[in-house]
């Protein structure tokens, strides 16, 4: 079970104000699929143009990452560095 937190931008555009959710998923890809079923359209947004923070660590291109039980997941803006 992953504990997903939605940013204000995602809450505003996709989740109808839902800020947190517990989802049965063992990978980020499965999590995104589950979220897209519940909030249609969010899957495309989460699959491109976002990074994922899993238990505090920001991971780009994270769709195949495994989620440990009770993982804390945040979807974030994609970042660049100099």
């Amino acid at each position: 079970m992953a504990h997903v937190h939605f940013s204000a931008g995602l809450r505003s555009s996709f989740t109808g104000g839902v800020a947190d959710l517990v989802v049965e998923a063992t990978t980020v890809r499965a999590l995104i699929r589950a979220l897209d079923e519940r909030f249609p359209g969010i899957g495309e947004k989460l699959s491109s143009g976002t990074s994922v923070a899993i238990d505090g660590e920001i991971i780009p291109d994270a769709d195949l990452e495994a989620l440990a039980p009770h993982a804390e997941v945040h979807f974030l803006e994609t970042l660049g560095g100099g």
Partner: protein, 751 residues
């Protein structure tokens, strides 16, 4: 030559990590032998020249190259007709349109055509003979102009992302980032002190000393070798291939030494042009930008406008923050408004906040990454208001930050919880330093500010070879822009337990080592270092096995200590790395190993800085008296180069705060595209930048490394503004704090 100049700085438990070896590339660089992008010469080489747009915004009606093609020495002319139509994701199409204008030009300096000829003069003359008919369009140069309802549009199909409900028509706003927590109204209602203001920053350039340069050599079979100076030759290969319509493997990119990057050499400009010219001419082509071109055509950092409001309790507790931020993207979407939104309040716990960050296209060169992209501007606003609040409350500026500082387990305003971090340690280090107690004189002011940057991990590869003499070659694909060769050598020396002078670190080309992401995001020592460590450990495991084979004992009877295999019971004479290398024929062949990884365990970076400065009340000129920066490096592998990164960030931040700005005329043409008129700090402007390297080890890296290259540029903008406020008694919110602006503040103090 002494390798370990200061062994006393060795980190506890380490022999080489924490020492200050002379950089392996130093001799070549100080004697002029190192080969930078513009140094290469090939037989039969032609010279390329770019024709650039004289207009900030115009449709291209026609391009006539017929005269130019007939001119003496001309071997190739290229225009939009020589590149495939833009395709792929929006970002790829922007890359293609920025490399060579298609239907219209979007900024002064946008590429319209390029020529290759036998001499530079011939190429320039031919480029000037190309006839381009433009239909000039209205232009927008600031976020205010670009966001106005009647603004001229750069892209007819640009729809704002992140707005609910979705917009029904195009605009110049590419996206909105939104971060929100708590109840903002309640937060301000609970506040005893509310501070607010509108802050602006101008576009600034990295000012790397070496202009962009590329040499391309395309053979008749289509294979191309490209030499260029960049922060990542694998990325140059991928980006160039996208513009050319090629598979990346058709290109071999050889990294030249790099004369400064700071984020600005993470994208392509000349590279695909040189390749296409070379392909068309059948000869090698060299292209080198002038400084004028660097200013007009390569990416600066965003100009910004930030409207900020913050609320505090009388005990200094931050209870509310509201930020509206608009970042110039230049001609194509992609400003760091998102990162600016995420970093703005990251150092602090605040229960109630609303952050909006807008990515806005304007008719200026597309912005490029610049050290901690997006963070300095938002930090300028936040750290200025914190200082104002501290003054109003009557609280020390370090104490108010300590009151609100994030620590391990705190939730960042952008979402996740922080692991072990060293922010408080940087604040304490400044507070306890003698500089912070020095009394100030008339017209002098002291300013404090802090900053945060994420740092990055990303992809790295390394290959390690042991030579037959027992010396070691470490090959990575990370260009060395901050002393990373030395860091790689030190980490490999630590792993093998041999003198760092016996390690030869090499930056390999795209066909000599596995893929590496760019040297950016303060990631190389962490990520490429982790790959080097992993490859070394593979060889060490191999070496133990070979010693066991030689001694005919089980593997667990062999350990590696101080550069040699030892029998745990001491029943065998040790075998050194040289011994095992000499005997590799008998034990399994050459000793080599590679490692590739997508790095994890990134440790975030925090910096706190204090500046003392003096203002000449007659001229408004600022003299920086002393500057102290404290930054958490996790573990300083090479302390001198860590200190250098800290100092470099501060100096560039001081330029941003005090002098630097792009100035455009009413037609959108840059008026100060030279180092005479765009003034970066020089050595005589600067005092010694004092450094405190705080070491709170990053648990995610074998040696505790955190990236150090970027966060140092975040605090100076506000630190200087805060010091100026304390010196002249007036808050200035528009950068740069040039003498004219400061003098105006002094003369109109009571207005």
């Amino acid at each position: 030559m002494t390798i370990a100049e200061d062994p006393a700085t060795t980190a506890p438990g380490y022999k080489w990590v924490g020492t200050r070896m002379i950089r392996p590339d130093g001799f070549e660089k100080v004697t002029g032998r190192a080969r930078f992008g513009a140094d290469l010469k090939l037989n039969g080489m032609l010279y390329g020249h770019v024709l650039r747009s004289p207009h900030a915004h115009a449709n291209i009606v026609s391009i006539d190259t017929s005269e130019a093609e007939k001119m003496a020495g001309v071997r190739a002319v290229i225009t939009r007709a020589d590149f495939p139509a833009p395709s792929g994701p929006a970002g790829d199409q922007d890359l293609q349109r920025n490399a060579m204008a298609r239907e219209k030009v979007l900024y002064e300096g946008h590429v319209v055509a390029a020529v290759a000829a036998q001499t530079r003069g011939q190429a320039k003359a031919a480029a000037e003979a190309i006839k381009v008919v433009y239909e000039v369009l209205p232009h927008v140069m600031t976020v205010d102009e670009a966001m106005a309802p009647s603004a001229a549009l750069l892209h007819p199909n640009l729809m704002t992302k992140g707005i609910d409900p979705a917009p029904t028509g195009p605009s110049n706003v590419a996206s909105r980032a939104l971060y929100q927590g708590g109840d903002l109204d309640l937060g301000f209602a609970e506040s005893d002190v509310v501070v607010e203001g509108t802050f602006t920053t101008k576009p600034v350039h990295h000012g790397y000393i070496e202009p962009h340069a590329a040499v391309a050599d395309t053979t008749p079979n289509g294979r191309t070798t490209l030499w260029c100076s960049s922060q990542g030759h694998f990325t140059m290969r991928a980006m160039s291939a996208k513009v050319l319509g090629w598979e990346p493997s058709r290109l071999k990119v050889i990294p030249a030494e790099i004369g400064g990057g700071f984020g600005g050499k993470t994208t392509i400009y000349l590279e695909p042009l040189a390749v296409r010219l070379s392909q068309k001419a059948g000869r090698p082509v060299k292209m080198v930008m002038s400084r004028d071109e660097v200013f007009r055509a390569t990416g600066p950092a965003s100009g910004t406008k930030i409207v900020a409001k913050m609320g505090f309790k009388n005990d200094g507790t931050m209870v509310a923050a509201e930020l509206w931020m608009a970042y110039e993207a230049g001609a194509f979407a992609g400003s760091p408004a998102g990162a600016g939104s995420m970093t703005a309040l990251a150092p602090y716990t605040v229960a109630n906040f609303l952050i909006e960050g807008f990515d806005v296209v304007v008719n200026k060169p597309k912005v490029a990454a610049y050290r901690a992209p997006g963070a300095p501007m938002s930090s300028f606003a936040v750290e200025s208001l914190i200082d104002e609040a501290a003054t109003k409350i009557g609280m020390d500026p370090i104490e108010i930050r300590l009151k609100n500082a994030v620590t391990e387990g705190c939730q960042a305003t952008y979402g996740p919880k922080f692991p072990r971090i060293g922010f408080v340690e940087t604040l304490e280090a400044i507070k306890n330093h003698p500089n912070y107690q020095i009394p100030l004189g008339p017209n002098q002011g002291r300013g404090v500010a802090s900053g945060f940057w994420f740092n990055a991990g990303l992809n790295s590869s390394a290959t390690v070879h042991v030579n037959e003499d027992g010396n070691v070659i470490v090959v990575t694909g990370s260009p060395d822009i901050g002393g990373s060769r030395a860091s790689m050598a030190l980490m490999a020396a630590e792993e093998f337990g041999i003198d760092a002078a016996r390690i030869q670190p090499v930056v390999g080309d795209t066909e000599s080592v596995g893929y590496n992401d760019q040297t950016g995001g303060s990631r190389t020592t962490l990520a490429t270092g982790a790959a080097v460590i992993e490859a070394c450990r593979k060889i060490l495991a191999d070496l133990r096995g070979r010693a066991a084979k030689q001694w005919d004992v089980p593997l667990d009877k062999v350990e590696w200590v101080d550069g040699q295999a030892q029998h745990v019971d001491g029943t065998q004479p040790p075998l050194s790395l040289e011994d095992l290398a000499k005997g590799w024929n008998r034990t399994g062949g050459p000793l080599t190993a590679s490692a590739a990884l997508n790095a994890r365990g990134v440790g975030s970076a925090f910096s706190t800085q204090v500046v003392d400065l003096e203002i000449d009340p007659d001229t408004g000129h600022v003299t920086v008296l002393r500057y102290l920066t404290a930054q958490d490096a996790g573990r300083a592998i090479h302390p001198s180069y860590v200190e250098g990164q800290l100092q470099g960030g501060v100096v560039q931040g001081l330029g941003w705060a005090l002098n630097e700005e792009y100035i455009f005329d009413r037609n959108g043409k840059m008026e100060n595209a030279s180092f005479l008129d765009y003034r970066i700090p020089v050595a005589s402007d600067m005092p010694m930048i004092d450094t405190i390297v705080v070491e709170v080890p990053n648990p995610g890296h074998p040696y505790g490394v955190r990236g150090v290259g970027e966060v140092g540029i975040v605090p100076p903008l506000a630190a200087v503004a805060n010091a100026v406020e304390h010196a002249v008694g007036r808050r200035l919110r528009d950068l740069p704090l040039s003498p004219v602006r400061i003098l105006d503040a002094i003369l109109n103090k009571d207005c």
